[in-house]
Amino acid sequence: MPELLEMSGVSRFFPGVRALDGVDFTVRRGEVHALMGGNGAGKSTLINVLTGVIPRDAGVIRLDGRPISPSSPRAAEALGISTVYQEVNLIPHLSVEENICLGRQPARWGAVRWGAIRGRARTAVARLGLELDLARQLSTYSVAIQQMVALARALDIEAKLLVLDEPTSSLDEQEVEELFAVVRRLRDQGLGVVFITHFLEQVYAVSDRITVLRDGHLVGEYAAAELPRMDLVTKMVGRPVVDSQPGPALTPAAESVGVPPLLEAQGLGRRGAVQPMDLSVRSGEVVGLAGLLGSGRSELARLLFGVDRADSGQVRVDGRPARVRSPRHAMTLRIAFTPEDRKVAGIVPDLSVRENIVLAMQASRGPWRKLSRRRQMEVAERYIGALGIKTPSPEAAVRTLSGGNQQKVLLARWLATEPRLIILDEPTRGIDVGAKQEIQKLVSSLREKGMAILFISGELDEVVRTSQRVVVLRDRRKVGELTGAEVNEGRVMAAIAGHPVQEATHDR
């Protein structure tokens, strides 16, 4: 009897990038199968191919033994593959029962039969083992319950394969448990469940098997019970636990030893974002923030920069208490921030490279003291040269640049404000190797000039190479802080995985 889902040799190429290269992925009936991998590993691409969002370039997908080629999410749904997304894609103003049956309402003579809708919804919800007020408006329920409704809808469609894409990002511990209870129930009813998440604990709590991807390749498929956490992290990140290549000795800049911190946060936290934690950064020091995606790094950065308001804790700048109220306020404190999602919170797409570069600088001067055109060109050209931004001209619209160059424009924007503390969130994401090194060199030279830097990245080797201290986050809380000789990939990975490292003798 063929497996429920068999993807063999699936490949997908984008210009210049192999998103997927000959990946195999199998899901059995009645199993929860976790799909894991870091940034750029190919998880999203694999799922997008499976659910019909994008086409594949090679390989075969078989559902119940029959080859399929879904051309759209609706087509995938019709085949029996149902997806529950992180942002619940349901209709907030309609009732629970209506959301379950929308698009397929039972009707007689053109008239919708609400009784039949009630019946079908009740059946679906019962299969989840839940009790819900079916007539209630969906948005009045918590995100956790809304996800349950999305699951119920999948059942109503009579899905065979459920894909859960980061379902627990917005849930608290109790809600996660309830979700897992439902998932186990569905598994016992014979469904196949693909579970994508960054939360290590959750993977082990509910999965039967784990498939690991890295850089578009299949690393392997394992039974969860037989794969220790350390091995899983190693396979995801791709480096052995032992740090075989110690980097150059990193000492903090002389002035920063014994100097009070430029920025000191105590018990800083926000409900739903990060648990309260302490953090400090000194001038002339690079503090790395390490952790897997989803561990709360960007959320912490947003709190520090005033984009989000903290619920708890306090922040001191230069020893004086400061409630960072807004990005503008953070700028007056000479703090800068390059966000991770440059499309949403970074570039202004239709404006030129020059305008993007001078935007923050201009904003800090206010509208009346306009930077002269000549000065703008000067600044723009300086950073275009310094960062190697490839653009046909400073007047080109920023959206025409490649991702890497857009990132550099963002960096230029903030460097132009001459901050004392700069928070870099994934500054090297989507940039080629040569440019990555340039940026790391830049970070070093900024540090030597006395700037305080918070360096956030999911690439451990990069974090370790650039930072004097590393703060480790996992599952939205701080789990460790490493300084000096402790800063190596092994220790960081151990902190992320939650295991004390055994091979102390191998440390540098």
Binding site: N89, I91, H93, L102, A107, W114, Q137
Partner: protein
């Protein structure tokens, strides 16, 4: 707690109903001597803005879907002059109205295609549609045309439901005229369609979250075209109804009616962002508009205070909607 949650969605509707009752009761108290609380007044409330009500039912669907229709007044005017012109050329009113309804629906569908398929903002499309329809009315005929036809006379004489008769003469005292009957029928049909047809439910879905609706398999493009076609149909029907009591057609009439329609819909509790609202609420919104006019007339205040009153009510309801929206997103 459960009761409170359910009511949160209905608060705007309850507020509308409350305002309506409040206004009616104050009218009864203030104008007790003028027989405000008589049956006739209630019937007049429905009849005075019957054409507005018919058009507002169609507009409700458009606004529920997250769009807007600025062409209402112009389409009504066009329909009146078109029907009058056809009748004056010898065509029987019924097929004339039928043709006008067809034209209105086709016009609406055309606008719908521009909105749905070409992604031109509804505001812009219906604004241009307003110009177009207004001008086309004048192309048909520049001056007003009176309608004289046995059909119309028959409708005027017999086309009403008699509610009470004079005790002595037996002649009708209070009757519900044909246009009010039309309004009520359209409102009932609209309310039924909103609740009991897939089309209606799809409209709500699209207005609430077009992105999700698309992912869930709702035929977004077709539904949007249908919604504007429906609005065109209702505006044309409103025009036909208007000819009944105007007994004439005039291309220059009903300037600015779309604003009254939108005001009725908003006051009736429908969110301009879409996804929330009821046809019943719109009916109450129309009645409130009628109440404002009646109260102002009875109080002998200048009639231009009407627009100020409408503006204030709009403001109150919009702020209410905004506060509720904030409250819901904070709670979630």
């Amino acid at each position: 707690m459960k009761r409170l949650r359910v009511d949160a969605k209905h608060i705007p509707l309850l507020a509308t109903a409350g305002v309506m009752v409040l206004m009616y009761v104050s009218g009864c108290i203030a104008f007790h001597d003028k027989n405000f609380s008589s049956l006739r007044v209630i019937v007049d409330l429905f009849g005075g803005n019957a054409f507005l009500g018919v058009a507002a039912v169609g507009a409700t669907f458009v606004i529920l879907s997250g769009g807007i229709d600025l062409s209402v007044g112009s389409v009504i005017a066009f329909t009146t002059i078109a029907v009058a012109a056809m009748v004056s050329k010898g065509l029987h009113p019924l097929p004339a109205m039928g043709l006008a309804l067809l034209a209105g629906t086709a016009f609406g569908a055309g606008m719908g295609v521009l909105v749905a398929a070409f992604r031109i903002p509804p505001f812009l499309v219906t604004l241009t549609g307003m110009f177009f329809a207004r001008g086309m009315g004048f192309v048909v005929h520049g001056l007003s045309i009176a309608i004289e036809h046995p059909f119309y006379q028959a409708v005027m004489r017999h086309g009403a439901i008699v509610v009470t008769r004079h005790a002595k003469t037996g002649a009708p005292a209070v009757q519900i005229p044909s246009w009010t009957i039309c309004f009520l029928l359209v409102a009932l049909a609209g309310a039924w369609a909103a609740r009991y047809t897939r089309f209606g439910r799809n409209v709500y879905a699209i207005g609430s979250s077009e992105h999700s609706a698309r992912l869930m398999g709702v035929p977004v493009t077709w539904t949007k075209v249908g919604v504007y076609a429906l609005a065109g149909f209702c505006s044309a029907l409103a025009g036909c109804v208007a000819t009944l009591y105007m007994q004439s057609g005039n291309a220059a009439s009903f300037v600015g009616s779309e604003l009254d329609v939108i005001a009725s819909v908003v006051i009736g509790g429908t969110l301009l962002t879409g996804g929330v609202g009821y046809v019943g609420g719109t009916v109450m919104g129309v009645l409130i508009l009628s109440l404002i006019t009646t109260l102002i007339t009875n109080a002998n205040i200048s009639s231009w205070l009407t627009s100020v009153a409408v503006g204030i009510l709009l403001l109150v309801f919009i702020v209410l909607q905004r506060v509720l929206a904030r409250g819901q997103s904070a709670a979630a």
